[in-house]
Amino acid sequence: MSIHHPTPDACIACTACVVNCPVARATPNYLGPRLVGPAYERFRLLGLGEEASLHYCSNCKNCDISCPHGVQVSAINMTARAEYCLAHKPALRDWVLGHGELLARLLRPLPAGLKNFGMLNPLTRRALDRIGISARAPMPAFAPERFRDRLAKTYQGMQPRKVALFPGCFIDIYDPGTGFDLVWALNRAGYEVIIPKEFSCCGLPMIANGFRKDAEKNAKRNLRALQRMRAEGIPVISSCPSCVLMHNQDVPEFFPELVRDGRPQVLDAQAFLLDCVERGELSLTPENEVAERIIYHAPCHLRAQGGGLPGYELLRLLPGLRVDNADAGCCGISGSYGFKKEKYDVAMTVGAPLFDKVRRSGADLSCSECGTCRIQLVHGANRPSLHPVSLLRRVLEKRA
């Protein structure tokens, strides 16, 4: 596999990425984004060995967000990781964390209770810990049924319009409730929600764990469906910021040959709902008094999208809610990063300022678009955490 290298040349070593890297803040064992990314790239291109601390990069993309010169630092790091993993077979642990969807598919015949007992009991956690998945990290539980299977059996009413949803593994496997909250809002706005059967894991966990080839396979499958939707004029949305970023930015960056015929867009679901409000398709008249105080956390992969914080904007439009933006940086989990035994403490240190802010905010609930951010928020700040669409439903749905 010949790997296309993003160019490091625009880097002038200004250190903006160093200042803004949450991992470099948490541990002096990481050389930092500037040195591991653009600076070390010169040695990589000369064929010299890999920098020993590359594995610390969590791919949170704060380097990209802070770089004034447009250097794709995280893409340089992930490309280096892909090359390193071609020469050095990644550990079983990394395969497991990179292939959550496949594992879930293999385990599908088992009932959820058994799966959860099997995966979450202390004995298994100890065994997982031995292969490098921290026993201290919070592990999500399998839902009784995949979101898409349940949706296929759900009557959505006669809707005038259609929208395709890329559910993302988190909603599909662990958190169908949030998926149904989104479907509820979309139905109310007059959209029937469909999920093309090709949709599989966006590939981000594979990239982050060094399985570039597998990510390419998934990208191909997903692109088939995305192109079909485009041809049919059906917009595609996702409520998971990391999936959106992977489809729109990373797939074209890593696999340019796959998108030669154009780059089909996956839209942020919350921005789509805001547009529905603006077009008059969705009314935000509250049915319930939900005088709750909410503290909102913006996922790094949402900030990296360049579209502001539509989920937060949506919450602020909801009457009765008092929403504050925590604005305390990365939560630390970065998808699968914080589950790794040797990264668990780094991830918790990264998230500490956020946990502190949430705890001290006096809010009853935290709220964030990203599923793993929510797991980390519950774990670190000891408060329930919801997706913005779930709050939206709480406020707008007429209760019997």
Binding site: C14, P28, G70, L267, R303, Q305, G306
Partner: protein, 425 residues
């Protein structure tokens, strides 16, 4: 996305942050769009106002020297009163956010750098109050083992060459490496963050006590490692028996991050919408006014509508200009980038710079020509657009590096541009 805001500010350097705060304080709905951080968060955070005019040091209060600048200089366009008001607002905000800025009674401060030079500047955080050196007789310059660019002997050797501090008795010391075994050379930022923890503060305080016992002195000069928030500084200053003065460092310079954090906190509490990771690339204009900017993002192009726009895109260094041999243009509106006298940049790229690195470079003062409202001008001197205003390093007519006026001009022009933008909506 088409939701309209009143004022869209582009750029999150000193100029963009200041403009957004001023505009929001006027009650407008403000969004701040940027691709990357500006130079504030990596710099020393000292607010230079005017250090030199034509190579001659400015004595006394730099505000009194503004009238000696050429008429097209941004300070002259804003006017002394405006500059003073703008800096006053900055000081108010920073004081409220635990990052107080103050001036020395005698005029510009000369802040020592970790390379042993003296840098003239006007407003600084309390940790950079270099005028305290004037009454010191014995100064201990503290380096830290494991910290990069930490060479006390270089600092003392260099500072001895300056006429004023020459009478000082200089001593050097090295504090122990507080993070032995780190995989990287430590930066002042690493240590400042460590000092934010109880153990880190204890390491610094006991290290300084020990050093002062070995080498008594009446002032300690050290790299900018005294934490990131004002309370930490106050705690340290109270715990060490002699005054501490921080030196300005190479990026990451820590002091700038302290101010950047303070300004961001203010923006957020005021409710400015932040749009990160979006690069403005084009404008939709209608006759003489701009309707929307188009930005390139990870998710394709997006439109951002507003009633008025403040462009604080940082010139060549910040990414606000594009250049090719023989030509430079402002990147979003395609406005010409002209030299201080209004002439285009020379045809030959070699002629854009002076052979002497400290000489007068044509590129250094080139920028967008503006009027007193900070509206960009056409060749005939009329405003090119009525609802677009420039601020900071993208404005032409000054050379911040030679004059030492970077953050001062950024704040003054941002204040003017923001008020002009508010008057449009």
């Amino acid at each position: 996305m088409s939701r309209t805001t009143d004022i869209l500010v582009v750029g999150s350097g000193m100029a963009g942050l200041a403009a957004a705060i001023v505009a929001r304080s006027q009650g407008k709905r403000v969004a701040l769009l940027s691709r990357g951080c500006g130079s504030l968060n990596i710099g020393s955070g000292c607010v230079d106002v005017l250090g030199y005019i034509d190579g001659r040091a400015v004595a006394g209060n730099p505000l009194d020297a503004l009238d000696a600048l050429p008429p097209r200089h941004p300070y002259r366009l804003v006017g002394r009163e405006g500059v003073e008001t703008a800096l006053g607002l900055l000081r108010e905000v920073c004081a409220r956010r635990d990052a107080p800025l103050n001036a020395a009674a005698t005029g510009n401060r000369r802040v020592p750098t970790i390379l042993g030079t003296l840098k003239p500047t006007w407003l600084t955080l309390p940790s950079f109050q270099a005028e305290r050196l004037e009454t010191a007789e014995t100064v201990l310059v503290a380096g830290i083992r494991g910290l990069k660019d930490s060479h006390p002997a270089l600092v003392t050797a260099q500072l001895r060459r300056y006429p004023h501090p020459a009478r000082i008795r200089w001593h050097e010391t090295h504090l122990e490496n507080p993070m032995p075994g780190a995989h990287r050379n430590l930066s002042p930022l690493d240590i400042a963050r460590l000092v934010e923890t109880a153990e880190g503060a204890a390491w610094l305080i006991s290290g300084l006590h020990k050093a002062l016992r070995a080498t008594p002195a009446d002032l300690v000069l050290l790299p900018p490692v005294c934490g990131l928030c004002g309370t930490t500084w106050k705690g340290l200053a109270a715990a060490v028996p002699v005054p501490l003065v921080e030196m300005a460092a190479l990026p990451p310079g820590v002091g700038g991050l302290r101010l950047y954090t303070a300004l961001l906190e203010e923006l957020r509490s005021l409710g400015v919408d932040m749009i990160e990771n979006a690069r403005a690339v084009a404008a939709e204009c209608d006759g003489g006014s701009c309707r929307a900017l188009v930005a390139e993002t990870a998710c394709g192009s997006r439109r951002f509508e507003a009633r008025a726009f403040v462009m604080a895109t940082g010139g060549f260094m910040g990414g606000g200009f594009q250049s090719s041999p023989g030509e430079a243009r402002e990147a979003v509106f395609g406005l010409p980038v002209l030299q201080a006298d209004g002439a285009p940049l020379p045809q030959r790229p070699e002629d854009w710079s002076d052979k002497d690195i400290f000489g007068s470079h044509a590129f250094a003062s080139a920028g967008v020509m503006v009027n007193a409202d900070m509206q960009p001008l056409r060749a005939d001197g009329a405003p090119a657009l009525n609802n677009v205003f420039f601020a900071g390093r993208s404005v032409g007519g000054y050379d911040f590096a030679a004059e030492k006026s970077g953050n001062g001009v950024a704040v003054a022009t941002a204040w003017r541009a923001a008020l002009s933008a508010c008057a449009q909506c």
